[in-house]
Every structure is written in C-alpha cells, then in structure tokens.
C-alpha cells in the first residue's frame, strides 16, 4: 500500500505491506539512520519519533496508521537550537549516551523540555526511563537535562551568560 506522510517537513510517499511497522518503513524507504528497529515492544525508545507532535514509539505504530500524519525524526531536529543545546549539555555533564540510545534519549529530553521548561529530578528520570540503556549514569543525565533547561530558558528569555 502507499502511505502519504510528511516527514521532517517534506511530503513523502511510503511503500508498505499491511503488517509493516512504521519504524521499519521509515528506515527502509527514507534511510533514516537515527531510528533503530530494536526491542519492537516499546521499551527501548530507540525508535522515538514525533507523530503529529506526540512522542511515540514508531515500532508500535502500524505503518498504515501514519497516513496523512506529520512525522518528525531526530534528523529533522538535529540542527534546531533545542537539540544543539541538549547535545552541548550532555557534553558538559559528561553524560553523552552511547551511539545506540543517543538519539532516543535526545528525543525524550526534547519532548520533556518542550512540555516542562524546568522539570524536577523525578520527572527527568521518569522520562529517560523510556529509553532503556545502561550506558549512562542517571546522576549525570539529570545534571545534563538541568543544564539543557537552563540554556533553553536563557535563550528563550534572552538572558546573556553571566
């Protein structure tokens, strides 16, 4: 079947079989290398996408369900100031995740900070728990999200670095 979607702002036509998962179709048709078809059970978070603005596991979405939707993947956000701030914060806190879960964690942090400009520790851990990978210690991750939140708020409210 043919599925018309918008991916990272561009209209795309995807070719899928009835049982195909959205993650597999996006990887195969559009070679989006930030997405991994890994646990296929919504636990690892390595297939996170924004589907019509909501953060979802694309491994749990049948491809046909995405018809007419707007999809944003890590590739579409990579150059945004929000994601650049998150990457810079992860580096500063020495909390850069491994290559396998990095994009999943960045997508999860992007969603959290979009919804909650100053998240608490519990909220940060709840959010990052959606990306199960033991590569990074939670203390450093919480510190990184705090730095990212600060960078974002400074930019938003036009506050210069002291």
């Amino acid at each position: 079947m043919i599925i018309d979607v918008t991916v990272n702002g561009e209209p795309k036509r995807l070719q899928a079989r009835s049982g195909d998962r959205l993650v597999d179709v996006l990887r195969k048709d559009l070679t989006l290398s930030s997405l991994f078809s890994d646990c296929l059970s919504g636990r690892c978070g390595r297939c996170f996408i924004f589907l019509d603005g909501r953060l979802v596991h694309s491994c749990l979405i049948p491809a046909f369900k995405a018809k007419g939707s707007a999809i944003v993947t890590f590739e579409g956000l990579r150059e945004s100031p929000e994601v650049r701030e998150i990457i810079s914060a992860l580096e500063k806190a020495q909390a850069m995740p491994c290559s396998f879960c990095k994009t999943g964690k960045i997508m999860a942090i992007t969603e959290l900070l979009g919804r909650k400009p100053l998240p608490g520790e519990e909220e940060i851990l709840e959010q990052l728990d959606m990306v199960s990978c033991p590569c990074t210690d939670p203390v450093s991750l919480v510190a990184a999200v705090g730095i990212a939140a600060e960078l974002r708020n400074k930019r938003k409210f036009n506050r210069a670095d002291k």
């Binding site: 597999d24 290398s33 991994f36 890994d38 646990c39 296929l40 059970s41 636990r43 690892c44 580096e91 500063k92 020495q94 909390a95 850069m96 491994c98 290559s99 396998f100 879960c101 990095k102 519990e122 851990l125 709840e126 990052l128 728990d129 199960s132 990978c133 033991p134 590569c135 990074t136 210690d137 939670p138 203390v139 450093s140 991750l141």
Partner: protein, 694 residues
C-alpha cells in the same frame, strides 16, 4: 570534555555496503539431536538457504573448536542453535523464510541437569587440596555447611549481536562489535582455512558490553564470512533484540557448596568447597570462569586448610559465560553469604567475623605467594561504616526485628557491607588472553598516536588513558589520538573485559610515554615506542600442579554497603542506598570514575532485583518481562576514593560493583528477612513466604 569517539567505526546497524545481502539464522527447534536435515519451501529468486553441507563443500570448517559448532549438523547441543542461514536482499523476508524452514532431527533426551552431573559433562575441572582438612574438621568447634545458588542474567548491552563480512581486495574484512578482535580474526581464519593475515577485523562501536561480547561475536563473524564466500557478496547478520536475548550467552548460573570449620570465635580452620558453574552448551572461556571464581572464593579470607573442587559443567541449554566480573560475582556472593551464616550461628555481627578472617600481610592461602603488603580493608571498612552509618542502622534493624519478628507492623529493612577486590589479570591458558601491546608514536607535528586494539574500549577508558599520556608527556589532550583498532594495523590485545585490561593498557601507555619523554629531546621525530606484556600463567610446583592463584595482581580494593527495604505488599526488595569506598590507585579523572562506577552499580543492582532467565522455558514472555533497573528505582549512591594520591599507578575499577554489590545486597536481604534464602535473585512471592514463615 567527553565527546563521542571518532576512533572506531559506527554501529553495525548503520553500516551498509553496495550489493550487501542479509542473513537470518535458522535455529534448531530441539535441545539435543544426533543429526539434523534441513528442509524448506522453494525460495524466491535472489534468496539462498545455506545448510552445513554447503559450508563443508566450500572447504570451511563447521567447528570453531572441540564441541563448538558454527552450524549444528551432526550434534545439536541446545534449542536455538544455528543450523543454517537464509541469505537475500531483504532482511525482513530472510527472517520470515528462516522461521518457516523446518528440519528433521534424530532427537535425544537433553541433559539439563547440572548440579549432579556425569563425567562427560565436565568441560573444565580445578582442584585444590591444601593442609590438614579432615583433621581441622575433626577438631573444630563449629562445622557449617550450606549451598548457595545464583541465576542466569542477560547483559542488556547496546546493540544486538551481529557481523558483516566483506571481501575487500585480497582479504576478508569482518565488521563487528567485539571485546576481542584478535579472537575474531583467529576464529575466522581457522574456520575458513586461510591465513590470519588474510582476515582483517574492523571493530564497530562497542557501546556498553558488560562482558557479553567476549567470544560469541567470533561465531557470528565466521557464519557471515562463510555466507559471503558462498554468495560472493558482502553479508550482514544482525540479530533481532529478541533473538539476541533468547540465544546468545548470558551470565552463567552456579551452585556453590561451602562446608566450613571454625573455632568458637569464628576463625576459619578449614574450608571444603564444591563450586559448579553451568556453562550451557559450551564456553571456550570455561577455564577462565572457573579460575576467576576460585580466586574470588579463596582470595579474601585466610584459611589454613582448604579443599576445593571447581567444575565448569555443560548442559543442553544456550551457552553461558561471563558477566561483569567473569566468575567472581558468584563466588563472592557465596563466600560472603557463608560468612553471614557463620556470624548468625555464632551470634556475632557479620562485619566482626569478616574482619577476624581477612587476609593480611604475610598470609597466604594454599601455597600462593604470601601477601607482601597490607590490604587496605580496615581503612575501607572504617570509612564505609562512617559513610553509611552502618553500626547504628544495623543495630536498630536488629532491634526492630526482635520486637516484631513477623515484621507485621514495622519497616522491613536491612543493611550490610562487603569487602572485595578486582584483580588485574586473566588466569586462562588460552593463547592471547594475557597478551597486551601498545605502540605509541610522537610525530613531527607533536601529535601522539596511541596504537592498540584496546581502543575499542569506552570513551571513559580512552579519556583515562589520554589523561595518563597527557600527564607523562605534558602535551595537550587535543594532540593525543587513538589509531583505528583494526587487526591489520593495531597492536594485538587480549580481551578488553569490563575494566580488567584497562589498567594493564594504562600502564603500557605510561611506559611508552616515559620512554618517549626520555628520547624526546635527543632523537629526531617521529619517535615510536612499543611495549607489551609477557604471557603469564599460574605458578606451578615441581610436579606440575598449580601452586595456587596469585590473586592480588594489580588489584583494586573496595567496600560496598547496601541498605534495602522490602515492600510489605509485593515482597520486592528495594535498594534504598548504596555506598562504596574504593582504593584503585591513582584516579585519573574523578568525574569519569564516578560516572563509570555509578552506572556499574546500577547494572549490578539489576542482577539482584531483575528477573533471572530460564533458558529451558525460553519464549517471548521472558523477553518482554526482562529489563534492567528502572531509573526511578535507582537509590542514592555515595562513592569515595581513598589513597588515590599515594600512587602513580591507576588500576581498573569497573568490575568492583559486580563483585561486591550482589554480596552486600544479599547480606542486607538476610538481615531484613531474618532468614537465609541462599540464592540470588530473590523475588516478591519467595520473600513474602520467608517473611511469613514462623
């Protein structure tokens, strides 16, 4: 600042070569058979089924070594063992075709029993008989015997197992995430009957491996290489996460029986130990597993007489092997649990009994070289007690338990501390296990290039090594680079286990940098210095018997305290706090060391609270229920380093949590329960049963 490394290749999932084919594994549906005949429906155009006969017809070997099949053909040794491949241009179609393939077997009853075993199941045996054991038992005031068991765990590593094989001009190139590139090269050369120089292994991003990628990547690499030879195209095998969970090696399970003789104060007079490690269908590192476990169980407490029999036992389940500390986790948990048992019998505090028996300067077990220095356990112990408020908490939890034995009203809590060590070497006789080499070059632009296969290691390790080079040569970190770790150009290395090889590599880097420093202003650039370790094996007496394992080579010392609370409704044990005091020599980067320890502590806690895998059951249910510790359940973690300024040598520390945390967690659990379950992990229903028992 820690940035993502550019020295290694990206993840295997993201690598693609023109014309590349995908291969899916056809697996045995029975656990034991004496012959297997593969059959399948006609395949679509462009797809090919590779059976063992096709591999043999190409002149390749079907065995990696004795008992280890690349494809089962004459003997199936576990359910899920590879019996063939489906190769084609679409990975999803290959998966479907592999699942629909069938086979006819000459099935036999699988041997699943391992605690009582037959001689044909013994893969490796190690024995110690030292001192007057029977006499000591006959004379001793207290004789105690107990058996301790631990389960099977998944490594939860980053990327599932896989490999790409690609003929590149005159060599076969293997791309895979491995902790031991040299082993992959040797295995592929042996399987293909080609020279090792005709194989180049290009390691891909390893991520967190927790010793799950020591030797199994070699098997997948051989399969990919054979498929590439038969198809004449690059071939990629990449397991699905579920396939990886169900069919790749996990931490081995064990049963340790300890009989001890002690005097009335609790001083050990004799130990009689029977250690059985179930390695599943096979494990080429069985010797290392057993020897590391023996070193752990016999290394920490002084005992004048000891009899020990240790076995690696095969059974018809998936291969089982190392996790974190190779075999030390099982052994430490058992000996610590036994010391707690002794303390309980004698009515003393566990810490008191442990300190009474601790090895000290000049003491030696079963003829191993005497300890030439004082182990810093007393200092670690004092610091740990202070940090964790151990004495007060221990006493108050004991009091609560006495007042409310069924824990019906009060809080069900326990606290325990454990001392342990991580040694810095391997005990295996396997070739290349102990061979580490580094070549360092200071070039004309004053760039320092460190060439070693160990650069497959984590960014934290590389940051530590960089810092050592930076300090030795006073050059900026930006000028220090690691050469790509491929086997054609990088200096060969033994397995880069969790952190065991790390301290050896650090010393070699320091040694090469010091040599460069001496030559730096006398010789013209570039200056190249190479150094390597000597192969070492356990010392032997004149009759050829092992003289005991020198357990404290380049050791790091630590103590861990764990405080837990049992949920009175679900029975699940929840860690409340963890404290660690570490003496690992010089700490090159405190932030990175803290971060590495914190993440290893979480993985080690997962061993205590997670689901243990039952390979006899298999199945998707276990896969769906398996996950590491939730970040929201991670307890407060306090870590302190001691004496890091008293030495210039840095030792590995990443395995310390795997060695001490399960033992401390179990000990805390026994205090909370007032019972000795003698197994790990332990879950809600069993805990509630123990709590409610009279």
């Amino acid at each position: 600042m820690r940035k993502e490394s550019t020295d290694t290749l990206p993840l295997l999932s993201t690598l693609h070569f023109p014309g590349m084919l995908y291969a899916s594994t056809i697996r045995s549906s029975v656990a034991r058979a004496t012959s297997v005949h593969l059959s399948h429906d006609p395949l679509p155009a462009g797809y090919l089924c590779i059976a063992p006969a096709d591999v043999a017809a190409e002149g390749c070997s079907l065995l990696l070594s004795e008992g280890i099949s690349l494809f089962a053909h004459a003997d199936v040794s576990y359910k899920g063992e590879p019996i063939g491949l489906v190769v084609g241009p679409d990975a999803a179609i290959c998966d479907e075709l592999a699942q629909s393939a069938t086979a006819v077997y000459e099935e036999e009853d699988p041997s699943l029993e391992w605690e009582s075993f037959s001689s044909s199941q013994i893969a490796y045996r190690y024995e110690i008989d030292y001192g007057e054991v029977e006499l000591a038992f006959a004379k001793s005031a207290k004789i105690e015997k107990a058996i301790y068991r631990n389960g099977i765990f998944d490594h939860h590593y980053s990327e599932p197992m896989g490999a790409i094989a690609n003929w590149e001009y005159d060599k076969i190139a293997i791309y895979c995430a491995t902790q031991w590139p040299t082993h992959v090269r040797q295995a592929v050369a042996a399987a293909m009957h080609i020279a090792e120089s005709d194989v180049v292994v290009k390691p891909t991003n390893l991520g967190k491996s927790l010793d799950g990628r020591l030797w199994f990547p070699s098997i997948v690499a051989c399969q990919a290489a054979m498929a590439a030879k038969i198809c004449g195209k690059p071939v990629k095998i990449l397991y699905t996460r579920e396939e990886d969970f169900l069919y790749t090696p996990k931490q081995a399970r064990s049963a340790v029986t300890i009989r001890s003789a002690s005097d009335e104060q609790g001083k050990l007079q004799a130990l009689d130990v029977n250690l059985i490690i179930n390695i599943g269908a096979y494990n080429p590192m069985a010797q290392e597993l057993v020897r590391q476990a023996v070193a752990a169980i016999t290394g920490i407490y002084f005992c004048p007489a000891m009899r020990l029999e240790a076995y690696a036992i095969k059974s018809n389940i998936i291969p089982l092997g190392a996790m974190g500390s190779i075999g030390a986790t099982h052994a430490f948990f058992s000996i610590e649990a036994h010391m707690n048992h002794l303390a309980k019998i004698l009515g003393k505090a566990p810490a008191e009994i442990k300190m009474l028996n601790m090895m000290s300067k000049g003491s030696s077990n079963f003829g191993a070289p005497a300890l030439g220095y004082e182990i810093p356990f007393s200092k670690i112990h004092r610091q740990l007690e202070k940090m964790s408020d151990y004495r007060r908490k221990y006493a108050s939890y004991e009091l609560v338990k006495k007042r409310d034995p069924g824990c019906r009203e009060g809080v069900v809590r326990g606290i325990a501390l454990t001392l342990g060590y991580q040694n810095g070497r391997s005990y295996s006789d396997l070739p290349m296990m102990n061979a580490y080499a580094v070549e360092t070059t200071l070039d004309r632009n004053l760039n320092l290039v460190i060439n070693t296969q160990a650069s497959i290691g984590s960014d934290s390790l590389k940051a530590m090594w960089k810092a050592s080079a930076e300090a030795a040569l006073s050059i900026s970190g930006e000028k220090i680079h690691f050469a790509p770790p491929n086997t054609d150009t990088a200096q060969p290395c033994g397995p880069l286990t969790l952190s065991r090889g790390a301290s050896i590599i650090n010393r070699l880097i320091e040694r090469t940098c010091r040599a460069i420093q001496k030559k730096r202003f006398r010789e013209s650039l570039p200056i190249v210095v190479k150094t390597q370790t000597k192969a070492i094996s356990p010392p032997k007496d004149p009759s050829g018997q092992d003289r005991g394992i020198p357990v404290f080579d380049a050791a790091s010392w630590c103590g861990s305290a764990v405080e837990i609370e049992i949920d009175r409704i679900s029975g699940e044990p929840k860690p409340l706090a963890v404290w660690m005091v570490v003496d690992a020599g010089k700490i090159v980067s405190k932030e990175l060391a803290l971060s590495s320890l914190r993440s290893s502590i979480i993985s080690a806690l997962s061993l205590c609270t997670g689901a243990d895998f039952d390979p006899e059951k298999g199945g998707r249910d276990q896969y769906l229920h398996d996950r590491g510790m939730r970040l929201t359940d991670v307890p407060d973690i306090g870590i302190e380093f001691i004496d890091s300024d008293k030495t210039t040598l840095a030792h590995g520390l990443g395995e310390l949590p795997f060695i001490t945390i399960p033992a401390a967690f179990y000990s805390a659990l026994t205090q909370a329960l007032g019972a000795e379950p003698r197994q790990l992990p332990l879950h809600g229903s069993e805990i509630l049963r123990l709590l409610e028992a009279p």
